[in-house]
Protein backbone atom coordinates (compact mmCIF):
# COMPACT_ATOMS: atom_id res chain seq x y z
CA UNK A 1 0.00 0.00 0.00
CA UNK A 2 1.20 3.53 -0.70
CA UNK A 3 2.82 5.24 2.29
CA UNK A 4 0.26 8.03 2.25
CA UNK A 5 -2.63 5.59 1.94
CA UNK A 6 -3.81 4.25 5.28
CA UNK A 7 -6.87 2.49 4.03
CA UNK A 8 -8.44 0.95 0.93
CA UNK A 9 -10.68 3.99 0.82
CA UNK A 10 -7.65 6.36 0.86
CA UNK A 11 -5.98 4.30 -1.84
CA UNK A 12 -9.08 4.50 -4.02
CA UNK A 13 -9.21 8.28 -3.61
CA UNK A 14 -5.49 8.61 -4.42
CA UNK A 15 -5.74 6.35 -7.45
CA UNK A 16 -8.79 8.10 -8.83
CA UNK A 17 -7.35 11.60 -8.42
CA UNK A 18 -3.88 10.79 -9.78
CA UNK A 19 -3.19 12.45 -13.14
CA UNK A 20 0.24 11.00 -13.88
CA UNK A 21 -0.47 7.89 -16.02
CA UNK A 22 2.42 5.81 -14.65
CA UNK A 23 1.69 6.67 -11.04
CA UNK A 24 -2.01 6.09 -11.66
CA UNK A 25 -1.24 2.56 -12.92
CA UNK A 26 0.93 1.86 -9.89
CA UNK A 27 -1.82 3.07 -7.55
CA UNK A 28 -4.42 1.07 -9.48
CA UNK A 29 -2.42 -2.11 -8.93
CA UNK A 30 -1.94 -1.25 -5.25
CA UNK A 31 -5.67 -0.71 -4.91
CA UNK A 32 -6.40 -4.03 -6.61
CA UNK A 33 -3.83 -5.76 -4.36
CA UNK A 34 -5.46 -4.26 -1.25
CA UNK A 35 -8.85 -5.55 -2.39
CA UNK A 36 -7.26 -8.94 -3.06
CA UNK A 37 -5.87 -8.97 0.48
CA UNK A 38 -9.34 -8.25 1.84
CA UNK A 39 -10.74 -11.01 -0.38
CA UNK A 40 -8.19 -13.46 1.07
CA UNK A 41 -9.55 -12.74 4.53
CA UNK A 42 -13.12 -13.12 3.26
CA UNK A 43 -12.16 -16.48 1.73
CA UNK A 44 -10.98 -17.82 5.09
CA UNK A 45 -13.96 -16.37 6.98
CA UNK A 46 -16.50 -17.90 4.56
CA UNK A 47 -14.71 -21.24 4.84
CA UNK A 48 -14.96 -21.10 8.66
CA UNK A 49 -18.63 -20.14 8.55
CA UNK A 50 -19.57 -22.86 6.10
CA UNK A 51 -17.94 -25.45 8.39
CA UNK A 52 -19.82 -24.11 11.44
CA UNK A 53 -23.00 -24.12 9.39
CA UNK A 54 -22.44 -27.73 8.43
CA UNK A 55 -22.40 -28.76 12.11
CA UNK A 56 -25.55 -26.74 12.85
CA UNK A 57 -27.50 -28.05 9.87
CA UNK A 58 -26.84 -31.65 10.95
CA UNK A 59 -28.64 -30.85 14.21
CA UNK A 60 -31.47 -29.09 12.38
CA UNK A 61 -31.91 -32.11 10.10
CA UNK A 62 -32.33 -34.26 13.23
CA UNK A 63 -35.05 -31.89 14.52
CA UNK A 64 -36.85 -32.09 11.15
CA UNK A 65 -36.77 -35.89 11.37
CA UNK A 66 -38.23 -35.66 14.88
CA UNK A 67 -41.07 -33.38 13.73
CA UNK A 68 -41.86 -35.73 10.84
CA UNK A 69 -41.80 -38.71 13.20
CA UNK A 70 -44.20 -36.87 15.52
CA UNK A 71 -46.53 -36.27 12.58
CA UNK A 72 -46.43 -39.96 11.71
CA UNK A 73 -47.25 -40.81 15.33
CA UNK A 74 -50.47 -38.80 15.16
CA UNK A 75 -51.89 -41.77 13.28
CA UNK A 76 -51.51 -43.84 16.48
CA UNK A 77 -54.82 -42.49 17.81
CA UNK A 78 -56.82 -43.67 14.80
CA UNK A 79 -54.91 -46.95 14.86
CA UNK A 80 -55.79 -47.48 18.53
CA UNK A 81 -59.49 -46.93 17.76
CA UNK A 82 -59.29 -49.35 14.85
CA UNK A 83 -57.62 -51.90 17.13
CA UNK A 84 -60.47 -51.43 19.60
CA UNK A 85 -62.91 -52.10 16.75
CA UNK A 86 -61.02 -55.31 16.02
CA UNK A 87 -61.24 -56.31 19.69
CA UNK A 88 -65.00 -55.72 19.69
CA UNK A 89 -65.29 -57.75 16.48
CA UNK A 90 -63.33 -60.54 18.06
CA UNK A 91 -65.50 -60.35 21.15
CA UNK A 92 -68.63 -60.69 19.00
CA UNK A 93 -67.18 -63.77 17.33
CA UNK A 94 -66.23 -65.31 20.68
CA UNK A 95 -69.68 -64.46 22.11
CA UNK A 96 -71.27 -66.12 19.07
CA UNK A 97 -69.21 -69.25 19.62
CA UNK A 98 -70.04 -69.31 23.34
CA UNK A 99 -73.77 -68.82 22.63
CA UNK A 100 -73.68 -71.58 20.04
CA UNK A 101 -71.89 -74.00 22.35
Amino acid sequence: MSDSAQTIKDLKTLYQSETDPDLKQALFHQYEAALDAALSIVDKDIGDTSQQLKDATDKLQKAIDDVREAKKNLADVATAIKNLAKVVDLFVKVAGLVAGA
Binding site: A56, V67, A75, V92, A99
Partner: protein, 328 residues
Protein backbone atom coordinates in the same frame (compact mmCIF):
# COMPACT_ATOMS: atom_id res chain seq x y z
CA UNK B 1 -75.29 -69.03 27.82
CA UNK B 2 -77.49 -67.04 25.47
CA UNK B 3 -76.04 -64.24 23.38
CA UNK B 4 -78.62 -61.79 24.75
CA UNK B 5 -77.46 -62.50 28.26
CA UNK B 6 -73.93 -61.57 27.33
CA UNK B 7 -75.25 -58.32 25.78
CA UNK B 8 -77.14 -57.43 28.95
CA UNK B 9 -74.16 -58.13 31.14
CA UNK B 10 -71.87 -55.89 29.06
CA UNK B 11 -74.24 -53.19 27.96
CA UNK B 12 -73.58 -50.65 30.67
CA UNK B 13 -69.89 -51.34 30.57
CA UNK B 14 -69.66 -50.44 26.87
CA UNK B 15 -71.42 -47.16 27.38
CA UNK B 16 -69.40 -46.40 30.49
CA UNK B 17 -66.19 -47.30 28.72
CA UNK B 18 -66.95 -45.06 25.72
CA UNK B 19 -67.98 -42.20 27.99
CA UNK B 20 -64.88 -42.60 30.10
CA UNK B 21 -62.60 -42.68 27.06
CA UNK B 22 -64.21 -39.52 25.76
CA UNK B 23 -64.12 -37.65 29.04
CA UNK B 24 -60.58 -38.76 29.79
CA UNK B 25 -59.58 -37.49 26.37
CA UNK B 26 -61.17 -34.13 27.02
CA UNK B 27 -59.86 -33.72 30.52
CA UNK B 28 -56.38 -35.13 29.98
CA UNK B 29 -55.77 -33.49 26.62
CA UNK B 30 -53.93 -30.25 26.74
CA UNK B 31 -53.42 -29.11 23.16
CA UNK B 32 -51.71 -26.00 21.87
CA UNK B 33 -52.88 -22.79 23.47
CA UNK B 34 -54.00 -19.86 21.35
CA UNK B 35 -50.84 -17.89 22.06
CA UNK B 36 -48.71 -20.92 21.21
CA UNK B 37 -50.60 -21.33 17.94
CA UNK B 38 -50.12 -17.63 17.25
CA UNK B 39 -46.36 -17.98 17.83
CA UNK B 40 -46.21 -21.03 15.54
CA UNK B 41 -48.25 -19.23 12.88
CA UNK B 42 -45.82 -16.31 13.02
CA UNK B 43 -42.75 -18.50 12.64
CA UNK B 44 -43.75 -21.05 10.01
CA UNK B 45 -44.64 -18.78 7.03
CA UNK B 46 -41.69 -16.50 7.81
CA UNK B 47 -39.23 -19.41 7.97
CA UNK B 48 -40.64 -21.04 4.87
CA UNK B 49 -40.60 -17.85 2.77
CA UNK B 50 -37.16 -16.79 3.92
CA UNK B 51 -35.62 -20.17 3.11
CA UNK B 52 -36.57 -19.76 -0.55
CA UNK B 53 -35.24 -16.21 -0.78
CA UNK B 54 -31.94 -17.03 0.91
CA UNK B 55 -31.22 -20.01 -1.33
CA UNK B 56 -31.67 -17.81 -4.40
CA UNK B 57 -29.48 -15.08 -2.95
CA UNK B 58 -26.57 -17.43 -2.24
CA UNK B 59 -26.72 -19.03 -5.67
CA UNK B 60 -27.09 -15.56 -7.22
CA UNK B 61 -24.04 -14.29 -5.29
CA UNK B 62 -21.89 -17.10 -6.71
CA UNK B 63 -23.15 -16.44 -10.25
CA UNK B 64 -22.41 -12.77 -9.79
CA UNK B 65 -18.82 -13.38 -8.62
CA UNK B 66 -18.18 -15.72 -11.57
CA UNK B 67 -19.59 -13.10 -13.95
CA UNK B 68 -17.53 -10.31 -12.42
CA UNK B 69 -14.29 -12.30 -12.43
CA UNK B 70 -14.96 -13.19 -16.07
CA UNK B 71 -15.12 -9.44 -16.71
CA UNK B 72 -11.86 -8.96 -14.84
CA UNK B 73 -10.22 -11.71 -16.86
CA UNK B 74 -11.36 -9.99 -20.07
CA UNK B 75 -10.32 -6.50 -18.99
CA UNK B 76 -7.07 -7.35 -17.17
CA UNK B 77 -6.00 -10.97 -17.64
CA UNK B 78 -3.02 -10.38 -15.38
CA UNK B 79 -5.33 -9.68 -12.45
CA UNK B 80 -6.58 -13.26 -12.55
CA UNK B 81 -3.58 -15.53 -11.92
CA UNK B 82 -3.09 -18.72 -13.87
CA UNK B 83 -2.49 -20.52 -10.54
CA UNK B 84 -3.93 -19.66 -7.10
CA UNK B 85 -1.73 -17.33 -5.04
CA UNK B 86 -1.63 -15.39 -1.77
CA UNK B 87 -3.95 -17.78 -0.04
CA UNK B 88 -6.74 -17.23 -2.49
CA UNK B 89 -8.49 -19.88 -4.48
CA UNK B 90 -9.08 -17.59 -7.43
CA UNK B 91 -7.43 -18.53 -10.70
CA UNK B 92 -8.59 -18.84 -14.29
CA UNK B 93 -10.20 -22.20 -13.59
CA UNK B 94 -11.86 -21.07 -10.35
CA UNK B 95 -13.61 -17.83 -11.13
CA UNK B 96 -16.09 -18.44 -8.29
CA UNK B 97 -13.20 -17.60 -5.92
CA UNK B 98 -14.25 -18.09 -2.27
CA UNK B 99 -17.80 -19.00 -3.27
CA UNK B 100 -17.09 -22.62 -4.11
CA UNK B 101 -19.98 -24.81 -5.06
CA UNK B 102 -19.46 -26.84 -1.84
CA UNK B 103 -19.61 -23.77 0.36
CA UNK B 104 -22.63 -22.34 -1.42
CA UNK B 105 -24.25 -25.75 -1.14
CA UNK B 106 -23.83 -25.50 2.66
CA UNK B 107 -25.50 -22.08 2.71
CA UNK B 108 -28.28 -23.26 0.42
CA UNK B 109 -28.73 -26.39 2.51
CA UNK B 110 -29.04 -24.33 5.70
CA UNK B 111 -31.54 -22.01 4.00
CA UNK B 112 -33.51 -24.94 2.61
CA UNK B 113 -33.53 -26.66 5.99
CA UNK B 114 -35.03 -23.58 7.64
CA UNK B 115 -37.81 -23.82 5.05
CA UNK B 116 -38.15 -27.60 5.48
CA UNK B 117 -38.23 -27.27 9.27
CA UNK B 118 -40.90 -24.54 9.09
CA UNK B 119 -42.95 -26.59 6.63
CA UNK B 120 -42.62 -29.72 8.80
CA UNK B 121 -43.91 -27.85 11.87
CA UNK B 122 -46.74 -26.40 9.82
CA UNK B 123 -47.63 -29.88 8.51
CA UNK B 124 -47.63 -31.29 12.04
CA UNK B 125 -49.82 -28.50 13.41
CA UNK B 126 -52.19 -28.64 10.42
CA UNK B 127 -52.64 -32.42 10.50
CA UNK B 128 -55.99 -32.99 12.22
CA UNK B 129 -56.25 -36.68 11.21
CA UNK B 130 -59.98 -36.08 10.66
CA UNK B 131 -60.31 -38.53 7.77
CA UNK B 132 -58.40 -41.24 9.66
CA UNK B 133 -60.39 -40.67 12.85
CA UNK B 134 -63.67 -40.74 10.94
CA UNK B 135 -62.70 -44.05 9.30
CA UNK B 136 -61.63 -45.53 12.63
CA UNK B 137 -64.81 -44.29 14.27
CA UNK B 138 -66.89 -45.93 11.52
CA UNK B 139 -65.06 -49.21 12.06
CA UNK B 140 -65.65 -49.09 15.81
CA UNK B 141 -69.33 -48.15 15.57
CA UNK B 142 -69.81 -50.90 12.98
CA UNK B 143 -68.21 -53.36 15.39
CA UNK B 144 -70.48 -52.15 18.21
CA UNK B 145 -73.52 -52.51 15.94
CA UNK B 146 -72.37 -56.01 15.08
CA UNK B 147 -72.15 -56.74 18.83
CA UNK B 148 -75.52 -55.11 19.45
CA UNK B 149 -77.29 -56.13 16.26
CA UNK B 150 -80.71 -56.02 17.96
CA UNK B 151 -80.16 -52.41 19.04
CA UNK B 152 -80.90 -53.32 22.62
CA UNK B 153 -77.98 -51.39 24.00
CA UNK B 154 -77.76 -48.40 21.75
CA UNK B 155 -80.05 -46.91 19.14
CA UNK B 156 -78.87 -45.73 15.72
CA UNK B 157 -78.87 -42.13 16.95
CA UNK B 158 -76.91 -43.15 20.00
CA UNK B 159 -74.39 -44.97 17.86
CA UNK B 160 -73.98 -41.91 15.62
CA UNK B 161 -73.36 -39.89 18.76
CA UNK B 162 -70.76 -42.41 19.90
CA UNK B 163 -69.06 -42.12 16.50
CA UNK B 164 -68.97 -38.34 16.77
CA UNK B 165 -67.67 -38.57 20.33
CA UNK B 166 -64.86 -40.87 19.25
CA UNK B 167 -63.80 -38.42 16.53
CA UNK B 168 -64.03 -35.50 18.97
CA UNK B 169 -62.06 -37.32 21.68
CA UNK B 170 -59.48 -38.48 19.15
CA UNK B 171 -59.08 -34.92 17.91
CA UNK B 172 -58.28 -33.74 21.41
CA UNK B 173 -55.78 -36.54 21.92
CA UNK B 174 -54.09 -35.64 18.65
CA UNK B 175 -53.87 -31.99 19.70
CA UNK B 176 -52.23 -33.14 22.90
CA UNK B 177 -49.73 -35.28 21.00
CA UNK B 178 -48.84 -32.32 18.76
CA UNK B 179 -48.31 -30.12 21.79
CA UNK B 180 -46.08 -32.65 23.54
CA UNK B 181 -43.99 -33.21 20.39
CA UNK B 182 -43.49 -29.51 19.76
CA UNK B 183 -42.75 -28.85 23.41
CA UNK B 184 -40.04 -31.50 23.24
CA UNK B 185 -38.47 -30.55 19.90
CA UNK B 186 -38.76 -26.77 19.44
CA UNK B 187 -37.08 -25.46 22.62
CA UNK B 188 -34.24 -27.96 22.18
CA UNK B 189 -33.42 -26.75 18.66
CA UNK B 190 -33.85 -23.04 19.41
CA UNK B 191 -30.13 -22.48 20.06
CA UNK B 192 -29.29 -24.11 16.73
CA UNK B 193 -31.80 -21.91 14.87
CA UNK B 194 -30.24 -18.88 16.54
CA UNK B 195 -26.74 -20.05 15.54
CA UNK B 196 -27.75 -20.72 11.94
CA UNK B 197 -29.52 -17.36 11.70
CA UNK B 198 -26.51 -15.54 13.13
CA UNK B 199 -24.13 -17.31 10.74
CA UNK B 200 -26.34 -16.68 7.70
CA UNK B 201 -27.00 -13.11 8.72
CA UNK B 202 -23.23 -12.52 8.92
CA UNK B 203 -22.92 -13.59 5.29
CA UNK B 204 -25.43 -10.97 4.21
CA UNK B 205 -23.60 -7.93 5.59
CA UNK B 206 -21.79 -5.56 3.27
CA UNK B 207 -18.90 -4.43 5.44
CA UNK B 208 -16.51 -1.56 4.97
CA UNK B 209 -13.58 -3.13 3.02
CA UNK B 210 -11.13 -1.59 5.47
CA UNK B 211 -12.87 -3.27 8.39
CA UNK B 212 -12.55 -6.60 6.58
CA UNK B 213 -8.89 -5.97 5.79
CA UNK B 214 -8.06 -5.04 9.39
CA UNK B 215 -10.18 -7.99 10.63
CA UNK B 216 -12.45 -5.74 12.64
CA UNK B 217 -15.34 -7.71 11.18
CA UNK B 218 -15.85 -11.15 9.72
CA UNK B 219 -16.06 -11.20 5.95
CA UNK B 220 -18.97 -12.92 4.24
CA UNK B 221 -20.62 -13.81 0.95
CA UNK B 222 -21.91 -10.30 0.26
CA UNK B 223 -18.41 -8.91 0.99
CA UNK B 224 -17.06 -11.28 -1.64
CA UNK B 225 -19.52 -9.85 -4.18
CA UNK B 226 -18.90 -6.26 -3.10
CA UNK B 227 -15.07 -6.48 -3.12
CA UNK B 228 -15.00 -8.31 -6.46
CA UNK B 229 -17.33 -5.70 -7.91
CA UNK B 230 -15.06 -2.91 -6.58
CA UNK B 231 -12.13 -4.56 -8.37
CA UNK B 232 -14.12 -4.72 -11.62
CA UNK B 233 -15.27 -1.11 -11.28
CA UNK B 234 -11.68 0.09 -10.88
CA UNK B 235 -10.48 -2.08 -13.77
CA UNK B 236 -13.29 -0.85 -16.04
CA UNK B 237 -12.62 2.77 -15.09
CA UNK B 238 -8.96 2.24 -15.91
CA UNK B 239 -9.83 1.04 -19.41
CA UNK B 240 -12.37 3.82 -19.92
CA UNK B 241 -9.90 6.48 -18.70
CA UNK B 242 -7.16 5.26 -21.03
CA UNK B 243 -7.20 7.23 -24.30
CA UNK B 244 -5.50 4.34 -26.03
CA UNK B 245 -8.35 1.91 -25.30
CA UNK B 246 -10.10 0.67 -28.45
CA UNK B 247 -13.87 1.15 -28.92
CA UNK B 248 -14.56 -2.62 -28.47
CA UNK B 249 -12.51 -2.61 -25.23
CA UNK B 250 -14.42 0.46 -24.08
CA UNK B 251 -17.69 -1.26 -24.80
CA UNK B 252 -16.67 -4.32 -22.78
CA UNK B 253 -15.42 -2.08 -19.97
CA UNK B 254 -18.70 -0.15 -19.93
CA UNK B 255 -20.72 -3.37 -19.80
CA UNK B 256 -18.54 -4.79 -17.02
CA UNK B 257 -18.74 -1.56 -15.06
CA UNK B 258 -22.50 -1.68 -15.37
CA UNK B 259 -22.57 -5.24 -14.02
CA UNK B 260 -20.28 -4.29 -11.13
CA UNK B 261 -22.35 -1.25 -10.17
CA UNK B 262 -25.52 -3.35 -10.31
CA UNK B 263 -23.91 -6.03 -8.12
CA UNK B 264 -22.82 -3.43 -5.54
CA UNK B 265 -26.30 -1.84 -5.59
CA UNK B 266 -27.97 -5.23 -5.31
CA UNK B 267 -26.09 -6.48 -2.25
CA UNK B 268 -26.29 -3.01 -0.71
CA UNK B 269 -30.04 -2.67 -1.17
CA UNK B 270 -31.08 -6.12 0.05
CA UNK B 271 -28.46 -6.65 2.74
CA UNK B 272 -30.26 -4.98 5.63
CA UNK B 273 -33.70 -6.28 4.66
CA UNK B 274 -32.43 -9.85 4.45
CA UNK B 275 -30.51 -9.61 7.71
CA UNK B 276 -33.60 -8.28 9.44
CA UNK B 277 -35.73 -11.08 7.98
CA UNK B 278 -33.25 -13.73 9.12
CA UNK B 279 -33.08 -12.32 12.62
CA UNK B 280 -36.87 -11.89 12.72
CA UNK B 281 -37.28 -15.59 11.95
CA UNK B 282 -34.86 -16.47 14.75
CA UNK B 283 -36.78 -14.20 17.13
CA UNK B 284 -40.10 -15.75 16.07
CA UNK B 285 -38.65 -19.19 16.72
CA UNK B 286 -37.37 -18.20 20.15
CA UNK B 287 -40.78 -16.76 20.98
CA UNK B 288 -42.42 -20.02 19.88
CA UNK B 289 -39.94 -22.01 22.01
CA UNK B 290 -40.60 -19.81 25.03
CA UNK B 291 -44.37 -20.10 24.63
CA UNK B 292 -44.12 -23.88 24.39
CA UNK B 293 -41.78 -24.09 27.37
CA UNK B 294 -43.75 -21.79 29.64
CA UNK B 295 -46.90 -23.74 28.86
CA UNK B 296 -49.08 -20.89 30.06
CA UNK B 297 -52.82 -20.96 29.47
CA UNK B 298 -54.56 -17.64 29.11
CA UNK B 299 -58.23 -16.70 29.20
CA UNK B 300 -58.67 -17.17 25.44
CA UNK B 301 -57.50 -20.78 25.81
CA UNK B 302 -60.01 -21.39 28.59
CA UNK B 303 -62.78 -19.88 26.43
CA UNK B 304 -61.71 -21.98 23.49
CA UNK B 305 -61.65 -25.10 25.67
CA UNK B 306 -65.09 -24.28 27.09
CA UNK B 307 -66.44 -23.91 23.56
CA UNK B 308 -65.06 -27.33 22.65
CA UNK B 309 -66.72 -28.84 25.73
CA UNK B 310 -70.00 -27.11 24.94
CA UNK B 311 -69.96 -28.58 21.43
CA UNK B 312 -69.39 -32.00 22.90
CA UNK B 313 -72.03 -31.76 25.62
CA UNK B 314 -74.94 -33.18 23.55
CA UNK B 315 -72.73 -35.99 22.37
CA UNK B 316 -71.60 -36.81 25.89
CA UNK B 317 -75.23 -36.84 27.02
CA UNK B 318 -76.22 -39.16 24.22
CA UNK B 319 -73.34 -41.48 24.92
CA UNK B 320 -73.82 -41.56 28.65
CA UNK B 321 -77.59 -41.71 28.44
CA UNK B 322 -77.74 -38.60 30.59
CA UNK B 323 -75.88 -40.29 33.41
CA UNK B 324 -72.73 -38.26 32.94
CA UNK B 325 -73.10 -34.51 32.79
CA UNK B 326 -70.72 -31.68 32.14
CA UNK B 327 -71.82 -28.38 33.65
CA UNK B 328 -70.58 -25.23 31.95
Amino acid sequence: MKKSAIFCGRSKKILEFTSCVLLSSILASCGLSNTQREAINTFTPAGSGLGDILSKQFVGARDSVIDLNTCLLTLYPDLIPAQPKLGRRLDRDHLDDALTSDRIAEFVKASDLIKTYSDAINALVSDSQQAELTDASKELTAAIRSYDSNKKLVSDDGLTAIGSAIVAGGTLLIEHKKFMALKEIVPKIDGVITDISTLISGELIVNNPDDVLTKKVKGGVFDEVNLTALKVTAAADNVLDDNKSSPPDRQIAAECRNKAVKAIDNVGSISKKLQKSVLDVATAHSKMATKLTNDSIDISDIRSFATKLKDLQPIIKAVSGGGLKVHL
